[in-house]
Symmetry: C2
Subunit: 658 residues, 2 copies
Amino acid sequence: MSIDAARLQPMANAIRALSMDAVEAANSGHPGMPMGMADVATVLFTGHLKFDPAAPGWADRDRFVLSAGHGSMLIYSLLHLTGYAAPTIDDIRNFRKLGSPCAGHPENFLLDGVECTTGPLGQGLAMAVGMAMAERHLNAVFGETLVDHRTWVIAGDGCLMEGINHEAIGLAGHLGLGRLNVLWDDNRITIDGATDLSTSEDIKARYIATGWHVTECDGHDFADIDRALAEAKADPRPSLVACRTVIGKGAPNKQGTSATHGAALGAAEVAAARETLGWTSEPFVIPSDILADWHSAAEPGRAAHGAWAGRLESSPHKAAFEHRMAGHLPEEFSLDDHIAGLLEKPQNIATRKASEIALAAINPQLPETIGGSADLTGSNNTLAGGIGTFNRDNYAGRYVYYGIREFGMAAAMNGMALHGGVIPYGGTFLVFTDYARGAIRLSALQQARVIYVMTHDSIGLGEDGPTHQPIEHLASLRAMPNILVMRPCDAVETAACWDIALRSWETPSVLVLTRQNLPQVLGKDHVMQVELGGYRLKGAEAARKVVLVASGSEVALALECAARLEADGIGADVVSMVCTELFDEQPEGWRYQMLPDDALIVSIEAASTFGWERYTGRDGLNIGIDTFGASAPAGDLFAHFGFTAEAIVPQILNKLNA
Amino acid sequence: MSIDAARLQPMANAIRALSMDAVEAANSGHPGMPMGMADVATVLFTGHLKFDPAAPGWADRDRFVLSAGHGSMLIYSLLHLTGYAAPTIDDIRNFRKLGSPCAGHPENFLLDGVECTTGPLGQGLAMAVGMAMAERHLNAVFGETLVDHRTWVIAGDGCLMEGINHEAIGLAGHLGLGRLNVLWDDNRITIDGATDLSTSEDIKARYIATGWHVTECDGHDFADIDRALAEAKADPRPSLVACRTVIGKGAPNKQGTSATHGAALGAAEVAAARETLGWTSEPFVIPSDILADWHSAAEPGRAAHGAWAGRLESSPHKAAFEHRMAGHLPEEFSLDDHIAGLLEKPQNIATRKASEIALAAINPQLPETIGGSADLTGSNNTLAGGIGTFNRDNYAGRYVYYGIREFGMAAAMNGMALHGGVIPYGGTFLVFTDYARGAIRLSALQQARVIYVMTHDSIGLGEDGPTHQPIEHLASLRAMPNILVMRPCDAVETAACWDIALRSWETPSVLVLTRQNLPQVLGKDHVMQVELGGYRLKGAEAARKVVLVASGSEVALALECAARLEADGIGADVVSMVCTELFDEQPEGWRYQMLPDDALIVSIEAASTFGWERYTGRDGLNIGIDTFGASAPAGDLFAHFGFTAEAIVPQILNKLNA
């Protein structure tokens, strides 16, 4: 394709005009990046990106990720100009105002065409790695007649400086994700000033060292940009295109400086920029010829979509493919047999092992699962069910050796879930949710079905000591909106939690699992109650004075305490609080039935007591650990920290007598 | 120095023997790394590291960081063999048992000579960067007669694969920290198997791209190791020494495989290893000649320490240097004048601005502060008090442009605090504590005085939207042991919080600060009460029926609600809960005086309600936000999420009438 710079320049300037006008109207935002990358984005959207604004959910579209999410007006401009139903020009006028889908940073749940939520730097690119993985996997499964698309990223210096960049590009280089192309906005400016204030890195050399193809271009020369993008597409490795740009390009007095990064340019500079760009339209008005040129940019994609739809119609995989991409589980999927087997033959096993045997039942039934671990496969028990390794020689494989890259793994799983067609799960130790927390939050915010398999969930991991023993992690995850934190107490509850996680279409889950063995305590009648989040596992025999509420490994201990109390004539219920978020959603009647006002409520959990007063009140008793752990065998630690019936029951009696 | 391999080999084998014996006795631990790196460590400790076992706190010692902390038996062996008072051989026999200072991973608070707590991968190396920064700064301030030491790191593949490695080495390369030398245990094995299962990176090329000097050696050839370490010392850049090793070296059947990584070798393999190594002593017995050789390794350090002590005695800086290194604040340090000025002339400013003017009063008084920001200097308001930039041309500077490296910044601050002589503080947005959380936890665990300046603390940041608006972050940080989370409500309280943070020798602090302006509400009598964590800002005028508990920006709102209630004849206290951790430490009497049983307790905080029931009980009222935020101007968001007196007061009245 030959490049018509005279036609493209006004198209790019339309992005610049919309961006500076919207930021000016909001008096807030980031004009520098959209103005700097307008030319590159114009070449990408007019000559390389495969998209159809009339069908933003088209499964075989190219994915475009604006990793430098603060430059959100770039993507809003592009979606509007190319003819997506939204954002409308009024949406753009209301940029950064309540109710507008044009939020400060792009949100996948507000606009079609926004493939993922970006803004937390580095994560867009890392999610794109997951999208590219999902693409290769589905291509291997369904063939290139149905799946044959690329993932494009625009990233800034911040995205490349964040630690997650190292994990993401390491994974992409190792996996040989040649359909991933990153356009780096090489403007040499950060918020604090020139990049050389804080970095001296040879970024291109680093990418080459990590198995990437690297090329560069003048980010304001349309032909050169086009040449570089073509080169990126042609190379079998993932590509970094260093686009040398001027931040805020077009604003004559501020361009090239951090002054354009994160604030409105101001009326005078906007006026000067309009003059520099030769842009004479009123704010938010795009001349019809320019708009027509932009609309025509979508034509190749529309044609490609039509051809693809024809191929889908004649494909023997049509039904399976559509079902997978819609995110539905097979109707016949069930863990009932697995659970029935457990009830018949109870297992005294760790819940991480219970998770493994659940996966052995799940993975053969659900070809959409893609598992993995951040180098703790044997500890997380995540490899089960006969799934092969996913690597550059076998994209049909379903198990990913993520390496020691917790954050990169979590972000890649977000990308896979958002791409669709796969359900990712991945493991590490619960304590290392700290490393992945930025991505776990984005799972929740983006409403992505990602399943975190977090093992070694308390001091019960034993000898590895306080750096490896979660204390505050349950509380810190429970405080997060839209995520299910499930800490099952035995093999049956573990299977039920997997079922809940798989069926939670718009909510990520964290399965919190023990290293150590636990007795099986659930009966048949309990199975259906797990989804209530908290339910009675044992009712008081004597007159009820106490309700013991516990989760995971402390449920068996609560049962032991209850037995001792009953022996003293003190009636005690035991409630398994497997998931506080689900319990909190139940009607008040259920919650007060489980946790009545007229009993002493005692929480038992080998973790921070923080948050338990929601259930125990100010007058309850909270058995927990509000310090860091220690290094010793698990049994010694439980005794040391007071997790024995001998230590707990007297405290309950004292409280009852007080 | 010539290398006597015949003498060094048994010394290295002593490490191997102790490591496999201790792991065997514990039936838990990681023998592979200590056995693989025994030869390298022997060359380091006998020929390069400057240390004096009799004076582990000697200020000018070299710092040695075992970043691959799972190989803890390496450092325990070295400390024991070179003659540190601890660990004793009995401590090593009790490796990984309750009460032994030989914990599963090395803990700085259990053993002298363990410079920092390691185990969470990548962070040891990143803390070493901070130590090397502190060294250069103190060298610039006090001269090389007093400060002239190196920082040595042993790191594994995991440390290098973690994202934080990229941030840490980027910072070190940029700052030109030539006295930092990293010995990479290049054994090509991870837990899951060979490194090529998950990575294809050219690590050496990546380090070179980041401004490092790189060399390599045969990690089992003493002369070659010595040559490489000498080369690392001689190069003005930070150095990576790729030490090609065999994991588990000496265990004839398991060496070179992941089987040696994280489990005891087993009796048979230990016996075979003893034979291979020619090691005939009983377990935990070191032949006296080998022990004597090890003790003699400490002699050069002892002599250097003696010479240094002489220089200190004759130094005009002696008193100042010792005071700084002891971590004491100057006796005359005070913020009283600053606070008096605020009381005299109240300020309607954001608490981030209040923090800046507090810093303008602090930094000139405290030359030990080293500030910085992860590329948000103008937003975090962290640059104040006339401190210059810390960079390779000016190590005397006290302000660090950390770049977009939140995790690397936090870890570097840990390293600086543990090095001693400086008090680090650094800023980013509160929401990005997620990125740094692994290091924040290590601040708390390591009892390091690190001060986090976390601004933009709620939906009050406005237009940037949900990715940038903390919701669960206050709760998630409050749940962590040993950290003060302080959310001041005005300029006076902000100054008082800074004072508390600076005086908390063994506890990190998080200052949680607004973007938006807040009225000044504290009076003179309140100032001394801030350290109680929660205190009454306004007492009920009518008969007290309600206590409003709020923090930060919601305190003024609570005062407004109280005024409306009082106008209706309903008495209402207002409590500023500036720091729940400090409040929880107060006697029960104080806590119930502030939050009496006979009033409706209402919490008001623009964040997750999770955890507030500790203060409000099950029957209280929690005004908060349990969903993600949105993008809009701050005022619109506060109204949208119900943070107005109009929205809150009716809920209180309803609750009172229920």
